[in-house]
């Protein structure tokens, strides 16, 4: 299976703290993306990092990519209650357009 793994499966933090989620994958990739899913909703694209990039920022999000370890991390700084959601990484291979999703991290930010 090309599905990636994420850890932790669940994370609970206080508002204002930073949240870090990790993603490991198995195959060579063209890019890696992070998505958020609020309960009962569809997925929302957050950020994309290409295989030749090591770090990317977008607002309070920071993503790193280590292709030698086949891993990525998503850091959300100064978390807010509204950040409570499930976060998924998704990898795109060098061929084809499909994305393979990780198992997801459920983040709870306590006000």
């Amino acid at each position: 299976s090309q599905q990636g793994e994420e850890d932790p499966q669940a994370l609970s933090i206080q508002e204002g703290e930073n949240a870090t989620m990790n993603c490991s994958y198995k195959t060579s990739i063209n890019n890696l993306q992070w998505y958020r899913q609020n309960s009962g909703r569809g997925l929302v694209h957050l950020i994309l990092i290409r295989s030749n990039e090591r770090e990317k920022h977008s607002g309070r999000l920071r993503v790193t990519l280590d292709t030698s370890k086949k891993s990525s991390s998503l850091l959300i700084t100064a978390s807010r209650a509204a950040d409570t959601a499930s976060y998924f990484c998704a990898t795109k291979a060098n061929t084809g357009n499909q994305f393979y999703f990780g198992t997801g991290t459920s983040l709870t930010v306590i006000p």
């Binding site: 599905q3 063209n30 890019n31 993306q33 998505y35 899913q37 009962g40 909703r41 569809g42 997925l43 929302v44 694209h45 994309l48 499930s86 998924f88 998704a90 795109k92 084809g96 357009n97 499909q98 994305f99 393979y100 999703f101 198992t103 997801g104 459920s106």
Partner: protein, 112 residues
């Protein structure tokens, strides 16, 4: 203006029935997908279409038949529904260059 819309949002049906889920995107994207999310939130790709042509069929039972009348629509027809088909089905679209995908709100299918 909804970018990717799928209908219905909820679908409850009995085993053995045939049902369809419709999906439309107004983003002008060339590629559309169907994903299945199970009760543990695992998201698994089912089909990928590029310009109405099937690209990927990830070992999905042939009871599932996607149909793409044009590149803005990708419908999913399911024959002889089984209990294990209960899940949330997401339609998505992206540009060919593999940028971020846009997802619909999902269809929660419950087979009883």
């Amino acid at each position: 203006d909804t970018a990717v819309s799928q209908t219905p949002k909820y679908l409850v049906t009995q085993m053995g029935n045939d049902k369809s889920i419709k999906c439309e995107q107004n983003l002008g994207h060339d590629t559309m997908y169907w994903y299945k999310q199970d009760s543990k939130k695992f998201l698994k790709i089912m089909f990928s279409y590029n310009n109405k042509e099937l690209i990927i069929n990830e070992t999905v039972p042939n009871r599932f038949s996607p149909k793409s009348p044009d590149k803005a629509h990708l419908n999913l027809h399911i024959n002889s529904l089984e209990l294990g088909d209960s899940a949330v089905y997401f339609c998505a679209s992206s540009q060919v260059n593999g940028a971020g995908a846009f997802f619909g709100q999902g269809t929660r299918l419950t087979v009883v």
